[in-house]
């Protein structure tokens, strides 16, 4: 069991990971998105409905950092969409486990809201939900080994272009 001061430091480091992750995506620097993930990682977006019904389908599923890089590049080069601006708010970031940051990883839960502004329309709430992640230390930085985003609603307003 780590000492209290180490736990505070870890919580602060995890919070910084989430903050820079959101900042990077809000700045639309999609090419840097895969850098937040460990080489052996799993990224998944699904809905609460699919999860509760035990259905394996995802809105986005990337197994390994190669798939993350492919998606990032496809979004930059092959997918057609109108310019949009997003703002991510993540709160309630809580470490579910304390041990394992240098091994199997620590479990982190959080809530998210993503707002989107497009064209001359007002800002709209795109999605809300919770994340269930596993964070590990790789070198001297923290990375997502697993990021699972569970969207509250069953219906998405239009497209979910950028990652959560």
């Amino acid at each position: 069991m780590p000492a209290q001061s180490e736990l505070y430091q870890l919580a602060a480091d995890v919070e910084l990971l989430f903050t820079t992750y959101c900042e990077t995506l809000d700045d639309a620097a999609i090419e840097r998105w895969p850098d937040f993930f460990a080489s052996e990682s799993r990224y998944r977006i699904t809905t609460r409905d699919n999860l509760e019904r035990n259905l394996p389908l995802s809105l986005v599923l990337c197994e390994g950092v190669g798939m993350l890089r492919d998606r990032a590049r496809a979004l930059q080069e092959t997918v057609m969409y109108r310019r949009r601006f997003q703002r991510r708010l993540m709160s309630g970031i809580r470490l579910e486990t304390a041990d394992g940051i240098d091994g199997s990883g620590v479990k982190v839960r959080a809530s998210f809201l993503v707002c989107e502004s497009m064209g001359d329309g007002p800002t709209q709430l795109l999605v809300s939900g919770r994340s269930q992640d596993i964070v590990v230390r790789e070198g001297d930085s923290l990375k997502f080994k697993q990021r699972l985003c569970v969207i509250d609603s069953t219906v998405i307003p239009d497209s979910l272009v950028f990652p959560l």
Binding site: T47, L55, P56, L57, L61, E63, G66, L75
Partner: protein, 402 residues
């Protein structure tokens, strides 16, 4: 006739913007198409496997309930208490013994019969239901139901032809190719609301030649190219169609989109790695009148139901499925290839965006008409450079609507 009076003299080679934006045309569609002689997809039988299992869905914009009754028979009811209109079913899916309206506790059996009315005889001889009230006349409004290899359809009309005849032999054979009698297994749902008239979404799947121009992801990885082996089949009425296409998985420099800078090779090709399941074509996309898309694209199988939501929007529900007999490897393929489809789909996003700007364009020019001059006729073709299936759709649409 008066509603679409401005249909241009070119016939189905033009589509007036009014059909996408006008609310009285939209209301007539609900009455004549969705409440008319059509078979409307309502779900998969496996979603309501046991007696009492129900699923809330829509026929056009009308909320309905698909339920399996006590004898195991599938029934579809309008989701409305016959007393004072409250919806008797509030959950999207679940299991019940009876449907009870929360307002005054009227309850209905799984067969739709009004079986329970509180205070029917009043209290202490006072009040209660009128002596002339006949409960047997106030059962749930029921639709006709047809089933084909696990897919369930409903119709408000009592004189619609049998489903097999409705689909016609060519469409039926491609429908049966996917729903071939094997037990289906639902693997998940995606749903999103797109800012486009429901018909724009249906047309999109009848339009083979946008794919190689709009969908750079498909072109880049040789999944859909303008020159690949193609078969288009349209039923005799023009209302249903299927686009069958065979991917080469080869990149073609001539077809390569201008947006692609350096050569784009996938670091992990599992999201497009295909395993042959059917004898020809790597994709067969059916549109079944009025608003169902049966999608087989590589190993992704989905029932894509397009629910009208006012003239300017539609809600797409994708029910992805496989077979109970799938190997874990096949399931993994279906799940990874789904990255191309739905609200975050690397291909579908293109369509959502294009449909929304097409709707906005029609809104901005209500007296205009879209031009469908690619290719000839309203029937079958063995190439992609035709809009014949869209013309067929509007040929039939006019016979229903005018």
């Amino acid at each position: 006739m008066s509603l679409i009076a401005q249909w241009p003299s070119e016939g189905s080679r033009r589509v007036p913007a009014q059909v996408y934006i006008d609310s009285s045309i939209y209301a007539r569609e609900q009455e004549r198409i969705f409440r008319g002689r059509s078979w409307n997809y309502v779900g998969l039988a496996t979603e309501v496997a046991a007696s009492g299992d129900f699923l809330q869905t829509y026929v056009g914009e009308i909320p309905v309930i698909l339920v399996r009754d006590r004898a195991g028979r599938l029934r579809v009811f309008v989701n409305r208490c016959t007393h004072r209109n409250a919806q008797i079913c509030r959950e999207e899916r679940g299991h019940v013994k009876v449907f009870t309206c929360p307002y005054h506790q009227w309850s209905f059996t799984l067969e739709g019969r009004l079986a329970g009315i509180p205070f029917r005889r009043g209290i202490d001889g006072k009040g209660g239901m009128s002596a002339c009230f006949a409960p047997e006349q106030h059962g749930l409004e029921e639709l006709n139901v047809a089933q084909r290899n696990g897919a369930v359809f409903a119709s408000f009309a009592s004189d619609v032809e049998p489903l097999e005849q409705y689909l016609g032999p060519a469409i039926l054979s491609y429908f049966d190719r996917v729903c071939d009698g094997r037990a289906l297994r639902v693997i998940g749902t995606m749903r999103h609301r797109v800012h486009a008239n429901w018909k724009l979404q249906i047309e999109n799947l009848k339009d083979p030649f946008h794919a190689a121009l709009l969908h750079s992801f498909f072109v880049t990885f040789g999944i859909w190219r303008s020159d690949q082996e193609t078969e288009i089949k349209v039923d005799g009425h023009g209302r249903h169609s299927v686009l069958v296409s065979t991917a080469s998985f080869r990149q073609n420099t001539a077809d390569k989109p201008a947006t692609t800078r350096a050569e784009f090779r996938l670091k992990d090709s599992r999201i497009i790695d295909h395993e042959r399941e059917y004898e020809h074509g790597t994709g067969a996309i059916l549109t079944v009148w009025p608003n169902l898309i049966v999608l087989q694209q590589l190993n992704c199988l989905a029932m894509r139901h397009v629910r009208p939501d006012g003239p300017d929007a539609c809600i797409k529900t994708w029910t992805f499925f496989g077979y109970e007999s799938d190997t874990p490897q096949m399931l993994a393929r279906r799940l990874l290839q789904a990255n191309m489809l739905g609200p975050s789909g690397l291909v579908t996003i293109d369509d959502n965006e294009v449909l929304a700007i097409a709707q906005a364009g029609a809104r901005g020019a209500p007296a205009s008409a879209a031009v469908l001059e690619t290719g000839e006729g309203t029937g079958d073709a063995d190439h992609m450079l035709t809009e014949s299936a869209i013309r067929g759709f509007y040929k039939y649409y006019r016979t229903i609507m005018e």
